[in-house]
């Protein structure tokens, strides 16, 4: 494959596009079985109206507003139909000729669409994730060409460093710095690993990226591999994501066939082979050392760091581990330049962040906003507030490692530092909205029980501590606990947080600590020796 060929494919596919495109979401959230029936019904309706040379029906990735799915989008008008059923297909097609459609539609001016900024999701919902040509049509693999032919590995590292990109897997470690370390590490071979374990309850950012735009992740991994000197990559995907796995398998095959993966990529000496490893759905396998143990075929438990994977990872070789969304940013940074990226976001948190917005909120789905966006804008404008007449009480970010943010702190800017300051974390991007009927203790206990079930059992504070925390929370919820029990719970949070082996245990108390910080009265009201004044 040469650049000219790549551009030819892009042009050819652009030409093949018809003036009007009807895009049907075929991702997991829109129930692929229903949406495939919708797609077929739309194709039949287009044929019946004799519009085949003007209108094209295509399957695309996630359109974002998952709570209102199945979704269908009309291009170039950008009209989105919600809760579509196959029998509405004729009326949607008729609407193309100016008739009013029976299907409920959302205008492109809807704040859910206008307040977002898409970098990682730029092609989600626009391109067919099962066709490499469609990715090439929108500029795909040009960043890889550019990196291989026009940039030295040092230049790529510099670009990543000055972009300010930080890892999207939770900890927010500077990506450029990590790449630089792996590039410098000495090893007979090196590996690149994409962490697609996504175990947080309520999170589906990575799944959606993989289902909607798999080549974007592969391109990011290939650029990373070139930069650090790796020739083998692994995509670690949880087994609960069959559609993502299927699309990735297809994407890898297509990439190999076109010479964009495999050997002598873009006629250079760079080789990159990618394999998929399927996880069995243990949350702790998202932790990088447990993940590597799992790839090696061992029991998925964390091991001591240092040595960090960058020095000694898979089978003892230097290994770069990054999150799906982190890799999904790479091609954009290379294509548009690090300055473009660094201009988005805040001082310490650059670029955009994808969030999975769920819970008691009118518009649930997948959103992408610049770092630094106030939480209020997401809850009230994009999310549309609580459904019905309810009011929003708090938002939980960061999943089981995160915390609850009360409504009076909704002006907080969404960036790594601000969220940490108020006792939560950015995490990987789960965002659960709770209304005033929610008991914050139930929320805390839900996450503690999750951590208890997901603890690998290696270290004592996490294995037994989370169990005891859950027992105490259950006691508090039943109204039988005393002030002593609450003290004991706080003391346990302290020991589990500071003495656990890995991030799972260390952050397991966060949901309790943050609800104690902002909603302590709810705990106290349930104590049996609570003095009523």
């Amino acid at each position: 494959m040469e650049l000219a060929e790549l551009l030819d494919i892009a042009e050819e596919w652009q030409k093949a596009q018809k003036p009007i495109r009807i895009c049907c979401c075929t991702s997991t959230a829109c129930q692929p079985t229903v949406s495939l029936a919708i797609k077929q019904a739309l194709e039949e309706a287009v044929a019946a109206e004799d519009l085949e040379d003007q209108v094209q029906v295509c399957g695309v990735g996630c359109l974002g507003l998952c709570g209102k799915g199945p979704l269908v989008k009309i291009e170039p008008d950008e009209i989105v139909y919600e809760q579509v059923s196959p029998d509405q297909a004729p009326s949607i097609v008729a609407a193309l000729k100016g008739e009013t459609s029976a299907a409920s539609k959302l205008e492109p001016e809807h704040p859910f669409f206008t307040r977002q900024m898409k970098v990682v999701l730029e092609h989600s919902g626009n391109i067919d994730p099962e066709r490499i040509e469609d990715y090439i049509r929108v500029g795909g693999y040009q960043a890889l060409y550019h990196a291989l032919h026009e940039m030295t590995t040092d230049e790529v590292v510099d670009a990543m460093v000055s972009s300010g990109l930080r890892g999207r897997g939770g900890a927010g470690y500077p990506t450029g710095l990590k790449w630089a370390t792996v590039a410098k590490s000495r090893g007979e071979r090196k590996f690149v690993v994409c962490n697609g374990d996504e175990g947080d309850p309520g999170a589906f950012m990575d799944r959606s990226i993989l289902e909607s735009d798999p080549h974007r992740v592969l391109e990011g991994m290939a650029i990373a591999a070139y930069t650090v000197g790796a020739d083998q990559g692994f995509l670690y995907i949880r087994g609960e994501y069959p559609l993502a796995i299927k699309r990735l398998q297809k994407a890898i095959q297509q990439g190999k066939r076109m010479g964009l993966l495999g050997t002598q990529i873009f006629e250079t000496s760079f080789n990159f082979r990618v394999d998929i490893r399927i996880g069995a759905g243990a949350f702790v396998c998202g932790e990088e050392t447990a993940l590597m143990a799992s790839i090696e075929g061992g029991r998925g438990t964390p091991r001591p760091r240092p040595p960090y994977p960058a020095e000694s990872g898979l089978w003892g070789y230097p290994t770069l581990v990054n999150n799906v969304e982190t890799f999904a940013n790479v091609a954009s940074i290379i294509r548009n330049g690090p300055k473009w990226f660094a201009d988005i976001g805040t001082e310490g948190s650059k670029g955009t962040k994808v969030f999975a917005l769920t819970g008691q909120i009118a518009n649930t789905g997948l959103i992408e906003v610049p770092m630094g966006t106030p939480l209020r804008e997401i809850v009230e404008d994009i999310g549309g507030g609580a459904p019905g007449y309810g009011s929003v009480k708090a938002v939980q970010t960061g999943g089981p490692s995160g915390g609850c943010i009360p409504a009076d702190l909704f002006d907080t800017s969404l960036d790594y530092e601000s969220l940490f300051r108020i006792g939560s974390i950015m995490g990987s991007g789960g965002m659960v909205v709770m209304d005033e009927t929610t008991s914050m203790i139930d929320v805390a206990d839900f996450y503690v029980e999750f951590c208890m079930d997901e603890s690998c059992g290696k270290c004592v504070p996490c294995r037994v501590g989370t169990q005891q925390m859950h027992q105490l929370l259950t006691k508090i919820r039943s109204g039988e606990a005393t002030r002593d029990d609450l003290d004991r719970l706080e003391e346990l949070c302290d020991v589990v947080r500071h003495t656990s082996f890995c991030g799972l245990g260390q952050s397991a108390p966060n949901p309790v600590l943050s609800t104690l910080r902002y909603f302590r009265n709810e705990y106290e009201a349930l104590l049996s020796d609570h003095d009523v004044v």
Partner: protein, 243 residues
């Protein structure tokens, strides 16, 4: 060999480059409690009893807690092994261990010869304030010579490592997760059916509690001569049999 100097509990000590904090502390006569550590096998940092405080060097940043058994010495490092905070954490960790399974010493074969019991005394843990978890645990006496009582197991994985790294049999492993984790023999068969077991007895010597025992031992009788194990391991490390 490069020598590193560091401070442990205000005492200046010198260490070999590859030493862990635990190695130096032991050589310098500074006690640090441990449970999952066993001389001669790989450290895993699982029990968290050996946590020490490493000075951050700045009043704005809190000291870091690190397990001494897996943390390598660094030149100029300032380490505290027995701060009030550490003592409290250690006491609570032992308390959590006691709350996990059945550790009624008075009916245990290892009573008086148990490292868990010793540690409880060392850290001053004299009563358990948490509710007992008491999961259902099996006792397996299908092996002709030895037995395993899961009620007493603290999941230190010393048996797993000694069997894998020293005997080379890898009979033991861990199955399940969280509070449901258990040590198992072979592919979760009974010990008697575990074909890989060579009946060498190293796990019996390695086990810090009464979980793995010699059959026929009754209450408080299981005194084990751990020095037999250490002789073996020192010999291996120093290659005493070779040449």
């Amino acid at each position: 060999m490069t020598v590193k100097t560091l401070t442990i509990d205000d005492k200046l000590v010198s260490a070999r480059e590859q030493d862990t904090i635990l190695d130096v502390a032991r050589e310098s006569g500074i006690p640090i409690p441990t449970l999952c550590h066993l001389d001669g096998v790989k450290d895993v940092g699982a029990c968290r009893l050996c946590l020490v405080e490493i000075a951050s060097g700045s009043p704005d940043r809190p000291n870091r807690l690190q397990p001494a058994c897996v943390t390598k010495v660094v030149e100029g490092m300032v380490v505290y092994t027995a701060t009030e905070r550490l003592k409290k954490y250690r006491r609570m960790i032992v308390e959590l261990l006691f709350s996990e399974r059945n550790h009624i010493c008075s009916v245990c074969v290892a009573n008086g010869h148990c490292e868990l019991q010793d540690i409880a005394i060392t850290v001053g843990m004299d009563h358990v304030r948490y509710e007992y978890v008491s999961p259902l645990c099996e006792v397996d006496i299908t092996h002709g010579l030895f037995g395993v009582d899961q009620n007493r197991c603290i999941l230190c994985t010393r048996c797993v490592r000694v069997c894998d790294e020293i005997e080379g049999a890898h009979t033991w492993d861990v199955a399940g997760r969280g509070i449901g984790a258990r040590v198992i023999t072979d592919l979760h068969q009974s010990w008697g059916e575990a074909r890989s077991c060579t009946s060498c007895g190293k796990c019996v010597l390695a086990c810090p509690t009464g979980a793995i025992f010699r059959q026929g031992a009754t209450v408080a009788e299981m005194d084990r001569d751990r020095s037999r194990l250490s002789v073996l391991m020192t010999a291996r490390e120093k290659r005493e049999w070779i040449g």
